[in-house]
């Protein structure tokens, strides 16, 4: 279980994480969503003990990460975004090293190494140097190193970056299997689809702040029934904003140069009305894109940015 209470991390006047609180329950996957620089990795750093929080408290399995660091870290497994592996040595030696780093020794360590190699599907290439592996295989052994000591809490920082579809599916399966054993998982990602597929609960980060959180149903409720409509053409975005804002049930999300994003209920039926408003403002619509309500829609509404194209 992870308990984050009013976490704040600042570097001088720059606040990377600002008053963030959330809890990850055992047997649940909690997703952290946000663009680059949103503060996700800083939050992960504070939870994993890499960074010292400026304010607030983080507890892992009931242990304070700052005051009871060793006990907290003993039950924590981290799958970093970068492949943190000794590439010149074999998968077996990597697993032996990371297991031993958590205090495992002797037959327990060897047995667990064999189990994890089998679990990650790398047993037949266990003695090859990791540098010879494909990206997907490296990701799997990266995950394997984190679960050697059977942690009760797993932090996964964008674990599927650069992974082929097959390995991605296997990684998802492995995460779900850990959760089925009662492990709490904190999962950060850029990919909305991953978050929707895997996470029981989600928090959306932007500019160091948690701007929305809850279960998938809660967040979908926040999106409502409105569509996201993107319009582009020969018009001045600010003039178009002025023309569209007075219309009922139309919310301007972003407006820049010759394009504008709107949150509109029943958008397909209201297209003529919207086109007319822009024409009256002296513009002309040349391109229209309509998106159905989704987490991405919510993210766009809340942050004014797309998460990943």
């Amino acid at each position: 279980m992870i308990e984050v209470e009013r976490l704040r991390k600042s570097y001088g006047s720059f606040v990377a994480v600002d008053d963030v609180s959330f809890t990850v329950q055992p047997g649940k996957i909690f997703g952290l969503l946000g663009p680059n620089g949103a503060g996700k990795s800083t939050a992960i750093g504070c939870i994993s003990g890499l960074l010292q929080p400026t304010e607030g408290r983080v507890r892992v399995n009931g242990y304070d990460v700052v005051k009871e660091g060793k006990a907290a870290k003993q039950g924590l497994g981290v799958v970093p975004q970068e492949l943190s592996l000794y590439e010149d040595v074999s998968a077996t030696e990597n697993l032996l090293f990371w297991g031993a780093a958590y205090g495992m020794r002797g037959s327990e360590l060897k047995g667990r190494t064999h189990d994890v190699l089998t679990y990650t599907g790398l047993l037949d290439r266990a003695e090859e140097p990791v540098k010879n592996y494909s990206g997907g295989m490296k990701r799997r052994i990266n995950f394997g190193c984190a679960i050697m000591h059977r942690p009760k809490v797993l932090l996964l920082d964008e674990p599927t970056v650069g992974v082929d579809p097959q390995s991605r599916v296997r990684l998802f399966e492995m995460v779900k299997e850990q959760v089925a054993h009662g492990t709490s998982v904190l999962y950060t990602t850029h990919y909305m689809q991953e978050a929707e597929l895997l996470c029981d609960e989600l928090a959306i980060f932007d500019h160091g702040k948690l701007i929305a959180d809850g279960t998938l149903e809660d967040l979908r409720g926040m999106v409502g029934e409105k569509d996201i409509l993107r319009l582009a053409g020969n018009f001045d975005a600010e003039k178009a904003r002025a023309a569209l804002t007075p219309l009922p049930d139309v919310q301007v999300v972003t407006a820049e140069s010759d394009r504008i994003r709107l949150s509109v209920a029943d958008a397909s039926r209201r297209l003529p009305e919207l086109f007319e408003a822009i024409t009256r403002a002296g513009g002309e619509v040349r391109e229209t894109t309509l998106s159905q309500p989704s987490l991405e829609t919510l993210f766009l509404k809340l942050t004014g940015k797309e998460l990943r194209r």
Binding site: G49, L50, K73, Q74, V78, L85, V89, A101
Partner: protein, 378 residues
Amino acid sequence: MKNAWFIARKDLKYMMRQWGALLWLFVMPIVFFYFIGTAMGGLSMVTGGRTQLAIKVPGDAGFLADEVIRYLEKDDFEITRSETDLAFQSASPRLSFPSNFTEDVLGGTKTVLELTRQESGLAKDYDEMRARRAILTVLAQLAAAEKAGRAPTPESLAALDEVPRALTLKAAPAGERLEIPMGLDQSIPGMMVMFTLIVLLTSGASTLVQERNEGLLKRLASTPISRRELVMGKWIGKMILGAVQIAFAMLAGSVLFSFGWGPRLPMILLVMLGWGALCASLGLWLGCTARTEAQAVGIGVLAACVLAALGGCWWPIEITPSWVQGLQKLVPPGWTMDALHKLISFRAGAASAIPHVLVLFAATWVVGLVAARRFRYE
């Protein structure tokens, strides 16, 4: 400490798998022992043996020039006559007699002999002193001949030389004359000191930089291994690597080159332990400071070569000008080489190296603390 040892063992195992590290650890020192030792052994410098002295004697220099040369030979100069002017000008040391040397001396006209030595320092002073002694002896012979009413001829001077001296002045050094280590006596301790520094500044530092850049240190931060244990482990790993280098170099020196470490072996080992510890701290500091592996290796090689040269690892510091000898006292390899020369070549007592050992361990502590403060996971 259990975690620190775990990190140290892992580091050592990892470094010992790298071909580059193995080459610098076990192959290059032997190659350098041999080549530097051979080159040093071939140089004509002040050693326990005779010094080669090139001379230029014009045909009209006369018999007094032969007399001076005879006394120079008596004083351990090996006289060579250069066949060409060019060969004479490139020789060092060299002595040039003027034309009409004998005639001018007997006629009371001032005349000048030119002694040239390219190097400065003690060796030059020693050559000058011996040349003066030869000239003064000849002048004394002339004075004695005059007093005895004999004409100054080769025969009369030879006869005077046979007469027992009424008064003899015997001069001897108060202490034992130090023989400057040359050949393998210089290259084995010197290259051992230099390679320990090179290996720990390059392999030791670059491994740490690589681990940081690949996110391995960051990942280690999330394990129960504390920062202190990790830093200590990194230092111990480098220290063991240094000890392996030193032990191998000493063994190779003894077995392959029959090098004698002398009766002060325990103190030599203590000096080298201090040197290995300081190199481990320096390697840790460079690993904590450099941003890329290339930077760590580049700085490491450059620093090691410059410090080794200033510290007297390449050549005996005793043959260098006094300002270079002064610089030696400022650089860590210099402290180590000075102690080794005292213990191995000058046969000084073990106590003579105590200040060196204390300084090495104090520097280890200071540099280690600075490195620990600079240590960062990412």
